[in-house]
C-alpha cells in the first residue's frame, strides 16, 4: 500500500482538505505525504498540494492532496480548489467544538463546488489531546453516518489513523472508479489515469497544458 512510485501509477485522485482554520489540515497532509509534523506551523496561506502514491491492490494510485487556509470568507480559489476533486477530508478539531459545529457549513460549500460523487470523510483530528476533547466520538460518528460520510479520529501528532484515513478515502474512491470503469462510464470527477508511466498531470494539468500549448 505504501509504496511510493511517482512515475508508476494508474490513477491520480485529487483529494481536498477542508475545515476550520487551525484544525490541523496541513499537518495531516505533511504527516501523510512526508511523515512530518510541525509543532509550530503557521496558518496556511495560499494553496498547496502534495502527492503520495499508494498501492490499492494491484493499482498504483497517486493521491494529490490539496491544502489551503480554512478561511470562512469566500475566496476566488474556492471554485478551482474543489474542481476535479474526487475525495475530501473534512477535518475538525475534536478539542474545539466550534470547529465541529461548522462542519455543516463546510459540507455545503463542498457540495456546492465539487462533484456530487465526491467521497467525503469526516476527520476528528487531535485525538492525542483526549483530555481536552470537546466533541464526543459518538456524536461525530452519528453525524457522519447521517450525512453519508466516512468517519475517523486521527492525530497528526502521533500519526494515529492518518494513513488509515487517507487510504480509506482512496480505496473508496478507487472502488467507485473501478465500478465506473466496469460500466465504462467516465466521470469527470475521477481522473482516469492511464497506466502511462511518467504522466503526472491531472485533469486540470492536462487542460493547462493544452491551453498553454
Amino acid at each position: 500500500m505504501g509504496n511510493r512510485k511517482e512515475e508508476d501509477y494508474n490513477f491520480v485522485f485529487k483529494v481536498v482538505l477542508i475545515g476550520e482554520s487551525g484544525v490541523g489540515k496541513t499537518n495531516l497532509l505533511s504527516r501523510f505525504t512526508r511523515n512530518e509534523f510541525n509543532h509550530d506551523s503557521r496558518t496556511t496561506i495560499g494553496v498547496e498540494f502534495s502527492t503520495r502514491t499508494v498501492m490499492l491492490g494491484t493499482a498504483a494510485v497517486k493521491a494529490q492532496i490539496w491544502d489551503t487556509a480554512g478561511l470562512e470568507r469566500y475566496r476566488a480559489i474556492t471554485s478551482a480548489y474543489y474542481r476535479g476533486a474526487v475525495g475530501a477530508l473534512l477535518v475538525f478539531d475534536l478539542t474545539k467544538h466550534q470547529t465541529y459545529a461548522v462542519v455543516e457549513r463546510w459540507l455545503k460549500e463542498l457540495y456546492d463546488h465539487a462533484e456530487a460523487t465526491i467521497v467525503v470523510m469526516l476527520v476528528g483530528n487531535k485525538s492525542d489531546l483526549s483530555q481536552a476533547r470537546e466533541v464526543p466520538t459518538d456524536e461525530a460518528r452519528m453525524f457522519a453516518e447521517n450525512n453519508g460520510l466516512l468517519f475517523l479520529e486521527t492525530s497528526a501528532l502521533d500519526s494515529t489513523n492518518v494513513e488509515l484515513a487517507f487510504e480509506t478515502v482512496l480505496k473508496e474512491i478507487f472502488a467507485k472508479v473501478s465500478k465506473q470503469r466496469q460500466n465504462s462510464i467516465r466521470t469527470n470527477a475521477i481522473t482516469l489515469g492511464s497506466a502511462q508511466a511518467g504522466q503526472e498531470l491531472g485533469p486540470g494539468e492536462k487542460r493547462a497544458c493544452c491551453i498553454s500549448l
Binding site: 498547496e48 471554485s79 493547462a208
Partner: protein
C-alpha cells in the same frame, strides 16, 4: 523653621538632604520639531537611575512654559541610617523632548544641572541651563531651560522607619529619631526639614516632609506588600503602640494585602473610629496623631493625610504612646479632612474629622507653628460648629484653600466661614474631581497650613479657576455638604473622564455617609493597586505638592493656565507613569496625556483598518493568481520538496 534648622546644621554636618526637588520652569529657544515650527516639548527629569516620569507637558506653542513640572527624588545613596552630606548625588539632568504622537519622542536637548547642586547642597537654585546634545553628538543650538533645584530633607520619615525597620535593628532608627527629635526641638516643629529658602519656610518644610514621608511610606508599603513576613513587624509596631484595639492592627495588614480589603477595613475602622474620634476630640494629643500617622503609613502608604499629619506631629510626639484605636480613628478622620473630600464624607464623620483636625492643628500651634497656630484657631472655632456639618466643612476647606491664596487669610477666613465656604466647596469639588491626590494634598496643607500655603495654593487656584464655575451652580442648590460632595463627584466625572479609579472611591463615599471617612482613606488606595502601587501613589502626591511649593512664579503660571481637567489629566498620567519604568517601552506612552492617548489610539485604529484593507486586497490578488495557477500550471503549487523532484524529472 526648616530653613533655620538646615542652616544651623550646615551642609556638611547634619544637613544631609534626602531628596532633591527639581522643577523645570520653562524653556526658550528650543528646536522646532513640528511642521508648524514649534515643539510640543516636555521635560523629563532624571536623577541617577531615578529617571522620573514627571510629565511636564507644555502647551503646543512655543516657547514652552511648564506647569507642575516638578519631581522629587530621593537621593540615592542616602540611607535612612546614614545621611551623607557628600552622598553621591546623581546628576539630575533635565531632558527636553519633543513629543510626537506616533513616533518616539524626539530629543531636544539635555541639561546637566548636578554639579552646582552638589556643591551647594542645602540650597535652592533657579537658573538657566543651556541644552546640550546627547553625549557624542554634535552640539547644536538647542536653547535653554530654566530649572529650579531644591534640596530637601525629611524628618518625618524617621518615625516611619522606626515602625517598618524594627525588625532589622532599632539602633540605627533610634539614632535617627534622636537626631530628628533634636532637630525638631531646634526647629520646634517635628516636621522640620531642612529646606532651602522658600517664600514660606514652614510651608516648604511641610511639603518636603510630606514628600519624604510619602516616599518612606511607599517604601514601607512595598516592604509589607512584598512579603507577609514584613507584616508582622507592622503588627508588632502596632502592638508596641498603645493598643487598646488589636483588631485594627490586624486589619491593617490585611489592608496591605488588598485595597478592597483595606476599604472594608477602613469602613470597620470608621465605625469604630467614631467612638475613637470622640476620645480624640476630647483629647487630641499630637502624640496620638503621630502614632496614628505611623500606623497609617504602615497600613496605608496611600493616605497622605495621615502621613502629613504624622509629619507634623510625628517628630516631637513619636515618643508618646497613644491608644492604637485612637490613633487609627484619628487617622481616617484626618485623611478625610485633608482630602477636602470631607465634603463627601458624612457630616458626623466630618465633624469628627474636623475635631481631630482641630485638635491636631491646635497641637501643632502650641508647638510653635505659626501657620498651624492659625489653623488651630480656626479648628477650635469650628469645633463648636460641628453640629453644622456645612459650617465645619467650610471651615475645613477654608484653612486649606486660603493658605493657598494667602496664608494669613486663613485665620480670617475661618471666622467668616460662610462666604469662603462656597469657595472652599468649589475648591473641594475641584479637588474631588482631581483624584484623591489633590484632596490629600489639600488636606496636608490644612494640617501644615502655613508652611504649605504657597505650594498648595497654586494647585487649588488652578482648580478653582477651572472648575469652580461649573461646580458652583450645583453647590448652591445643595446646601447639605453631602449633597454638594455628591454633586462635585458627579461633576468630576464629566470634567475628568480619565480617572475612573478616583471616581469609584467617591462613589463609595456617597453610598456610605457615615463611612465616608474610611472611604476617603480608601480613595487614595484605589489608585495604588499593588505593592508597587503604594510607591506610585506616594510619587504622585509628591509631584503636585512639590510643584506648587517650589516656585511662586510657576504657581502663578499654573494658576492662570491650569484647569481642572488638565490637572486631572496630569494626575492620571502621573499614575500611569508611575507604573512604568523608564526602560519599559510603555514609558514613552505614559508621558502622553489622556487626549493624546486617545488620538493615538484613533490613529492606530485608522492605520489598522487601512492595513486590513490592504491585506484583503493582497489576499484577493493572491487568490486570483492562485486560480490562474491552479488552472494552468498546478504543479508549481506542489510543496517544494516534491516540486524539486518533479523539476528534476522534468
Amino acid at each position: 523653621m526648616s530653613l533655620a534648622a538646615s542652616a544651623d546644621r550646615g551642609p556638611g554636618s547634619l544637613w544631609s538632604p534626602t531628596h532633591v526637588q527639581v522643577t523645570v520652569l520653562q524653556a526658550r529657544g528650543l528646536r522646532a520639531k513640528d511642521p508648524g515650527g514649534t515643539s510640543d516639548a516636555y521635560a523629563v527629569i532624571h536623577v541617577g537611575k531615578e529617571s522620573t516620569p514627571p510629565r511636564c507637558p507644555s502647551a503646543p506653542w512655543a516657547p514652552p512654559v511648564w506647569r507642575e513640572c516638578t519631581s522629587v527624588f530621593s537621593i540615592p545613596d542616602l540611607l535612612p541610617l546614614r545621611v551623607h552630606a557628600s552622598s553621591a548625588f546623581h546628576h539630575p539632568a533635565a531632558h527636553v523632548l519633543h513629543r510626537a504622537l506616533l513616533d518616539l519622542d524626539k530629543f531636544l536637548g539635555r541639561a546637566e544641572v548636578d554639579r552646582e547642586l552638589h556643591r551647594d547642597q542645602g540650597r535652592r537654585k533657579t537658573q538657566w541651563y543651556t541644552l546640550k546634545s546627547k553625549p557624542g553628538k554634535k552640539d547644536k543650538e538647542r536653547g535653554a531651560i530654566e530649572v529650579d533645584i531644591q534640596f530637601m530633607r525629611n524628618n518625618m520619615t524617621a518615625s516611619m522607619f522606626d515602625l517598618s525597620m524594627k525588625d532589622k535593628s532599632r539602633n540605627p532608627f533610634g539614632k535617627l529619631k534622636d537626631k530628628i527629635k533634636g532637630k525638631n526641638k531646634d526647629s520646634v516643629s517635628d516636621s522640620a526639614s531642612a529646606i532651602v529658602p522658600s517664600v514660606t519656610p514652614s510651608a516648604d518644610s511641610d511639603d518636603e516632609s510630606s514628600n519624604k514621608d510619602k516616599k518612606k511610606k511607599s517604601k514601607i508599603k512595598t516592604l509589607f506588600s512584598k512579603s507577609n513576613l514584613q507584616k508582622t513587624p507592622l503588627s508588632q509596631s502596632m502592638s508596641v503602640l498603645p493598643t487598646s484595639k488589636s483588631d485594627r492592627v490586624l486589619l491593617r495588614p490585611g489592608d496591605f494585602q488588598s485595597r478592597w480589603e483595606d476599604e472594608d477595613n477602613e469602613d470597620d475602622s470608621s465605625s469604630t473610629s467614631d467612638i475613637m474620634t470622640h476620645k480624640r476630640t476630647t483629647s487630641a494629643d499630637s502624640k496620638q496623631l503621630n502614632q496614628i500617622n505611623f500606623s497609617l503609613s504602615k497600613k496605608e502608604g496611600l493616605s497622605f493625610l495621615g502621613g502629613l499629619r504624622s509629619k507634623n506631629d510625628t517628630l516631637s510626639r513619636s515618643n508618646v504612646c497613644i491608644n492604637g484605636n485612637h490613633v487609627y480613628l484619628e487617622q481616617p478622620e484626618s485623611k478625610s479632612d485633608t482630602k477636602d473630600s470631607s465634603p463627601s464624607s458624612s457630616p458626623s464623620p466630618q465633624g469628627f474629622t474636623r475635631k481631630h483636625l482641630f485638635s491636631s492643628t491646635e497641637n501643632l500651634a502650641p508647638r510653635s507653628w505659626k501657620e498651624p497656630g492659625e489653623a488651630g484657631g480656626v479648628a477650635s472655632d469650628r469645633q463648636p460648629s460641628e453640629s453644622s456639618t456645612q459650617d465645619s466643612l467650610k471651615s475645613m476647606s477654608l484653612p486649606s484653600y486660603r493658605p493657598v491664596a494667602s496664608g494669613d487669610v486663613r485665620g480670617n477666613m475661618a471666622p467668616g466661614n460662610l462666604e469662603t465656604a462656597k469657595e472652599t466647596k468649589e475648591s473641594k469639588k475641584q479637588e474631588n474631581k482631581k483624584p484623591s491626590l489633590l484632596s490629600l494634598v489639600t488636606g496636608k496643607k490644612d494640617v501644615t497650613k502655613g508652611s504649605e500655603g504657597e505650594s498648595p495654593a497654586t494647585i487649588p487656584v488652578k482648580e478653582k479657576e477651572g472648575a469652580p464655575p461649573e461646580i458652583k451652580p450645583k453647590q448652591d442648590g445643595l446646601e447639605p455638604v453631602k449633597d454638594v460632595m455628591r454633586q462635585s463627584e458627579k461633576d468630576t466625572p464629566a470634567l475628568v473622564s480619565g480617572r475612573g479609579k478616583s471616581l469609584n472611591p467617591f462613589e463609595e463615599i456617597q453610598i456610605t455617609e457615615p463611612e465616608a471617612e474610611p472611604e476617603s482613606r480608601t480613595e487614595p488606595k484605589p489608585p495604588v493597586l499593588s505593592a508597587r502601587a503604594p510607591q506610585t501613589k506616594a510619587v504622585k502626591p509628591r509631584l503636585h505638592p512639590v510643584k506648587p511649593m517650589n516656585t511662586t512664579a510657576t504657581k502663578v503660571a499654573n494658576s492662570s493656565l491650569g484647569t481642572a481637567t488638565i490637572i486631572s489629566e496630569n494626575l492620571i498620567n502621573e499614575a500611569m507613569m508611575k507604573k512604568y519604568n523608564p526602560s519599559d517601552p510603555a514609558f514613552a506612552y505614559a508621558q502622553l496625556t489622556h487626549d493624546e492617548l486617545i488620538q493615538l489610539v484613533l490613529k492606530q485604529k485608522e492605520t489598522i483598518s487601512k492595513k486590513e484593507f490592504q491585506v484583503r486586497e493582497l489576499e484577493d490578488y493572491i487568490d486570483n493568481l492562485l486560480v490562474r495557477v491552479m488552472e494552468e500550471t498546478p504543479n508549481i503549487l506542489r510543496i517544494p520538496a516534491e516540486v524539486s523532484k518533479k523539476a528534476g524529472k522534468m
